[in-house]
Symmetry: C2
Subunit: 108 residues, 2 copies
């Protein structure tokens, strides 16, 4: 689903990653699904978009930088991030961005 | 590939889309590949990341807003964008963002 976000400005985290070759796919998938559920419960969460082919891209949208910071250090998320570094990911890049303008096109 | 971008700040376009059910996949694929090639030739282009499952996410990175504006109105890109609206996409959302901070993790 394309995230239905409010009027700009708002913030986002672009998380781009490459998985390790030999990981427990089921454990990874469970963790990824749980992190989306958990993010949705956080204050300031606005939406999330995700796709994976050669690389995975997950963009989560947030009301402000404070919400992003709190999410980063949320305890269960911190454990998952540690697992990400030690097991799941060969490499990743995280970008904190401010959404300045947006426009869309929907056929209803 | 995870885009190797310079020190922040820089800019990005997050393009999220859902394809129409009945499109000419080959034509779409050719157009998408050509647009990446063309973007790479533009002044201020820094990199691109892309993945598609239920939704497609393409993030292109740019030096500044001026480069993004020029890319938007580049003539061949404008034709492709029109085809996107009229043929390829059921819906899309475009977000212009400023990358304020980033960090990464690579196992070499």
């Amino acid at each position: 689903m394309i995230a239905q976000t409010p009027k700009t400005p708002y913030y986002a985290v672009i998380f781009t990653s490459i998985l390790n070759d030999e990981i427990d796919k089921e454990e990874y998938s469970k963790t990824a699904i749980r992190m989306v559920e958990l993010a949705k419960e956080q204050k300031g969460f606005l939406g999330v978009e995700s796709a994976r082919e050669e690389i995975g891209i997950t963009v989560s949208y947030w009301k402000d930088l404070e919400s992003i910071k709190k999410w980063k250090y949320q305890s269960e998320h911190t454990l998952a991030r540690e697992k990400g570094r030690s097991e799941f990911y060969q490499s990743f890049k995280t970008r904190i961005v401010k959404v300045e303008r947006d426009y869309d096109f929907f056929i209803l």
